[in-house]
């Protein structure tokens, strides 16, 4: 079974600044994917970024990047140049053996003007 832990329930950041969200996970599988999903007030689940466990290079999508530390089972998300539209809940998730995603409890990000 997989577990995902997000230790920061809420974070705030000034517009244009950088914020880093932490995520740790546990799995006994060697082959897995890690994801960050964004959930704005509309509550839609939007994929932000994904990381393949066997790739050492950290994934990057525009202003979003991850710091994947496989040995430490850590998968943090950095949001650079924060924008007001980044205000949302952010969920870390893992997909290992089997089909299902296991989510963390989420971190609420508030971007302040």
């Amino acid at each position: 079974a997989q577990t995902v832990t997000q230790s920061q329930p809420e974070m705030s950041v000034q517009e244009a600044e950088t914020v880093t969200l932490s995520c740790t996970y546990d799995t006994s599988e060697n082959n897995y994917y890690l994801f960050w999903y964004k959930q704005p007030p509309s509550r839609q689940m939007i994929l932000v970024i994904r990381q393949e466990a066997y790739k050492q290079q950290n994934a990057t999508e525009n202003r979003f990047s991850v710091n994947f530390q496989k040995a430490a089972k850590s998968f943090s998300l950095k949001i650079s140049d924060s924008q007001l539209g980044d205000t949302a809940m952010y969920f870390c998730a893992i997909k290992a053996a089997g089909n299902k995603l296991t989510f963390g409890g989420g971190t609420r990000v508030l971007v302040k003007p």
């Binding site: 082959n31 897995y32 994917y33 994801f35 999903y37 509309s42 509550r43 839609q44 689940m45 939007i46 994929l47 994904r50 393949e52 969920f91 998730a93 997909k95 290992a96 053996a97 089997g98 089909n99 299902k100 995603l101 296991t102 989510f103 963390g104 409890g105 989420g106």
Partner: protein, 115 residues
């Protein structure tokens, strides 16, 4: 970009009533899922479905719940006798393959309110 479509976006139902949530997965996807998110809580897996049968289900997915693909395009979640605690956001998702390398596409969700 292909989308997963869920209807209705919001449904209010009386406790004890049956409710059917509908989803149209992406056309070439073969694997379908339902997830649930109670307000303020994490997203939880309910069930996965492939080749007209359930592949895996969670403890939440008890006898009150059922899924089917009645016509080759829709994928439905039925709750037979709703309870107050079934109030949640329900997300449908689909993928091409169960392989860990394939991601999901989520629908925009159905907000179910049981009164």
């Amino acid at each position: 970009e292909p989308e997963v479509t869920q209807t209705p976006s919001h449904q209010v139902t009386q406790m004890g009533q049956e409710v059917i949530l509908r989803c149209v997965p992406i056309s070439n996807h073969l694997y379908f899922y339902w997830y649930r998110q109670i307000l303020g809580q994490k997203v939880e897996f309910l069930v996965s479905f492939y080749n007209n049968e359930i592949s895996e289900k969670s403890e939440i997915f008890d006898d009150q719940f059922s899924v089917e693909r009645p016509d080759g395009s829709n994928f439905t979640l039925k709750i037979r006798s709703t309870k107050l605690e079934d109030s949640a956001m329900y997300f449908c998702a689909s993928s091409e393959s169960p392989s860990v390398t394939y991601g999901y596409t989520f629908g925009s969700g159905t907000r179910l309110t049981v009164v």
